[in-house]
Symmetry: C3
Subunit: 449 residues, 3 copies
């Protein structure tokens, strides 16, 4: 009958992952046999699975999935004769990076040289196997030296509803094993930059505002740290980080123009910077979000309500210029923030995957630079005529928002130069593969080589 034709798989180890994997395989229509050191006392197994000794189990199946911690691999050598020519799937992870000189999978291969070791499934958790993959981490990395062994494991994973990505030979196993241990590696640099900028501007403004008031005017306004100071630091960091997002692109274009070719690699620091632009931008969006919340909160603060009840006595004259300036300043800020949020939404994986390449670059480049322009304009309007007033420069230091305008202004000016027709044309040619080959005349190097 059909049941006899169902493929039999062997699983070594009856821990959480072994059980969950076995259960899922049985549901998918495989037959499963467990190999265990203590076949008679290994706790509850999924119904329909058999359990026997490692040696017996290994003989029955062509594929053996090793759900055992690396520390217990030593028993494998006893089973070596039965594993000859079989596909051994190493699903193990370590608790830390760099615990062992070689990857678990390579270690397993060295123990059983006659088997074909394939590293796979180490990114899949027992939890997601049990609860179905709709919500879970479906991406499986796979590597190994034998093409047929990999093909067998690839089919297995595909039948389980997982999405497979081949990472090459077994020497990639270390990278695959390190993946579940990584903790936001590409966020590290942007987070450092954000922390550094926040700390710098916090202390800078603390001195300029709170300590200055205390020293020069003998007033204690330390309570302003919680909201007013935070609401100065956050927009400053946000604008600088947004401009740091677009600076490497401009620098790369300048480098290509200067070198006259796109075929020479960028320096490593520039490459690294360009790869973390998305993270820089998202952190900048986070700071902008905080800035918006802090700003909208202003009128319900005790301090502001108090000031309103005090201020009433003085009769003011309505100043239309002030009304124009503040309303423009708010309006530009809101539009900038709305575009910012749009950029954030398009960087969600599922949204960016639905965009064509041209659409993605339109949003991230055109709308991104427009966002930067609006946010910079917002800051200039905030400063207005205070740039020229000497009283602005307490203790000869410029206010924070002036400092933070430097980088975005530079980026915008350079970008403006880049879109001048003559520069744009040169850059376009270089990006299509043209090369300026020096004094021996203009060479054209097509894509075709």
């Amino acid at each position: 009958s059909d049941l006899h034709k169902r493929e039999l798989l062997c699983i070594f180890g009856t821990g959480d992952l072994g059980r969950s994997l076995g259960q899922r395989l049985l549901q998918t229509g495989y037959r499963v046999v467990y190999g265990s050191r203590r076949p008679h006392s290994c706790g509850p197994l999924p119904p329909g699975a058999q359990v026997m000794s490692h040696t017996e189990a290994a003989q029955l199946a062509a594929v053996v999935i090793v759900c055992v911690h690396r520390e217990h691999y030593d028993f494998m050598e006893e089973v070596a004769p039965q594993l000859k020519g079989k596909v051994l799937v190493d699903v193990s992870n370590n608790s830390k990076k760099g615990l062992y000189p070689e990857s678990n999978a390579e270690f397993l291969q060295s123990l059983i040289p006659a088997a074909s070791v394939v590293k796979a499934f180490n990114t899949v958790s027992a939890w997601s196997l049990q609860n179905g993959p709709s919500d879970a981490h479906r991406q499986v990395f796979l590597c190994g030296d034998k093409a047929e062994a990999k093909q067998a494991v690839r089919e297995l994973a595909t039948r389980l509803g997982l999405s497979v990505l081949d990472r090459g030979s077994l020497s990639a196993a270390r990278e695959v094993e390190d993946f579940p241990l990584q903790l936001f590696p590409e966020w590290r640099l942007p987070l450092c930059i954000a922390t550094g900028l926040t700390a710098f501007f916090f202390f800078y403004l603390l001195i300029r505002d709170v300590i200055y008031a205390y020293v020069e005017q003998d007033k204690d306004i330390s309570f302003r740290i919680m909201v007013s100071l935070a609401n100065k630091v956050f927009p400053i960091v946000s604008l600088i980080m947004l401009s740091l997002c677009y600076l490497p692109g401009v620098m790369a274009a300048i480098l290509q123009l200067y070198r006259g070719t796109k075929y020479r690699r960028f320096p490593d620091w520039l490459d690294h910077w360009m790869l973390c632009r998305k993270q820089l931008g998202l952190l900048a969006l986070g700071f902008a979000f905080l800035h918006v919340l802090y700003t909208l909160l202003i009128p319900i603060r005790y301090y502001v309500r108090y000031k309103v009840t005090i201020r009433e006595n003085k009769t003011a004259v309505f100043d239309t210029t002030s009304a124009w300036r503040t309303d423009s300043y708010f309006s530009v800020g809101i539009l900038g923030f709305a575009l910012y949020v749009l950029l954030g939404i398009t960087s969600l994986p599922s949204v960016s995957n639905a965009l064509s390449w041209r659409e993605f670059s339109f949003v991230q480049s055109k709308l991104g630079h427009l966002t930067l322009l609006l946010c910079t304009l917002h800051t200039y309007l905030y400063g207005w005529n205070k740039f020229l007033r000497p009283s602005t420069y307490k203790w000869c230091t410029p206010p924070g928002y002036m400092l933070c305008l430097v980088v975005p202004s530079v980026v915008l000016v350079l970008k403006l130069l880049m879109v001048l027709p003559c520069v744009d044309r040169s850059l376009g040619r270089i990006r299509q593969g043209w090369e300026r080959t020096g004094p021996e005349g203009e060479g054209t190097k097509p894509l075709m080589a």
Copy 2:
């Protein structure tokens, strides 16, 4: 020529789904023949498809896709001889759960025992087949008893650009057929909790605020129901639900510590609770979002503007402690909300799929508990010294925000106990598979068994 080698598929039924499926199959390079009861008057079919009687059509193809409602399956018995040994794909859905004793696919199998019935494609709509799957529901569930039949259908689905998930034998067909009929099953419990809490706190605060003012002070402040009361109920429900998100995790840890093993199942209610933590958290985020909007709206309310113009006469003294307290309270609230939103974003399927397991648990556990801490602190700062003032306890009842502090405070204290070095170490060992096996001595049970 090549055209003769293209696989021929047979579709029974020329309704919406049959036509759309046929069109898509033709586009993908299959040949399609329709079986119809009235081959000469069955309306427009996709160009390139042939139409004939059921019997004739069934003879030509190895795979027959049955796009017919279950009510009309009776005609199938006449075609039974032609369907012997063929793969029959049942794509049907019912309009309600529990209409029939057995699933449609099992019923079909009982009508034609000599064919191999495979349940598939029932989650795919005619609409998404016509408009391309870029935006559509691409997940196809598949079940059946014959491995080769399933393999044939799996290949078919993969070629159509759909993503296949094998759910096992034909006995899973009922579950597969119920899937398109389900309406947020995992949201039901969290929604009930949210509704219950909202109703309770609404009436509690209605009595404490509005009715109390009416009875004791003879004032009609019923207009406060719309904004003030809502803005008290929403944050209370939000904080309680956020803490309910983290309570089961702490309880599970205590249970594991008490039992000394992780290999005994949790009680069903705890399992059920743990599986709906994501939904609890997202609902809590929704309530927090409403709280933020209601709070930011305060200064433009008519009532508040009125109060401002009235209050001006009394001259107040500026109180730095109040300024510190309210600004801290706002600042902690904003930071808590921002983290909250971050948690919500990482629970989007496409974002959580891009995270490694360690990253996901870092965000959901570490940042989650930090969010709970900030939000609880926000509420304590809101209460401040009112906890000790007798006038707070109108009619001897505590204000709503005090009631809502109970659960989060308990969760935070328990969590604090859990991260104490000694407790953390025991828990870590248990979670790696160690078992305390009672008086006969410490047993160690490795993953390997």
Copy 3:
């Protein structure tokens, strides 16, 4: 050894894409040989790849990937004898639509009629191949005339971790080649509508508010353009566009009721309209978001702060009805906006893919109409008794919010009629395939035909 069994692929062209593709193929376990016009001076190639003349390279492999711009296809004719019977993969894109009379792939096929051309990989960029597909555009479209050739390329793409969608015969190549060049085609109509509505209401309100005040009262309130006017235009456009989202659904239902069948196609304009409902709704959400930000900003505007300090002198009587009205108006608006955001979140591809069909239609239809109802109610409450006051109609024109109530009110009334039991029953029958076939009696046409 195993290395000799690895499949060998040939790549023509050593440009960016050729190199990146070769590198990825080598990582995945293929052997790669490059064909180049200048094999000895073609720059750095991925380690492990060989480079030789086109003719030599073509002889070695069964699959040749052509990473060359169309302008350089002429060299292919020289290699024609070596390409006989081979699979030729055309990965090229053009820089503009409609540059050439036929698609690149069809042109290649006409140059080498003896080869099997398959169009593929043109949506994949060198960048995403180099940096892994976790973040990248993984969707590959594929078309071609020979089934076996397509199967070979499909396997290749699957091994590279890409997701393949078969678009049929080579005649679909033009469409596939146009895909990376498209720039939000489905957003064009909604953007036009949004721009048109914004412009109309901007000038309408400019005349009614600013110019009216200037002419009749001789006051310059032009500064109000930046915030007040924007905050009138945005909610108006948002509400109209939200109702335009639900209007075609109601119109389709009326058409089906009138025709008595669902089997006749809708007019093209209605089809087109229905396909851009999602975009209409998302733009409406964007305008609503701006409206919320502008509204919350009101109390920190200079103009409003100024008015507050002025107004204090007049003593007002507290009006409970006004308090009820304004608080209801705010509360309904906030709830409407929160539902709006929920609709936006469920239209994210990864979220909508996780929903069953019934869940998706529940959210988009039930919650969508509730959102429309709340937002319309919000606007009616805003108007309140001003509808009857003659002073509202400056220069005999109604205010903007009255104009914008027309479409949503019509949609809501029609929708209300649709859910009346008798209408709902007729519609339900029609949507299940029933047809009213005119005077010769009621015909029932089941799905089965």
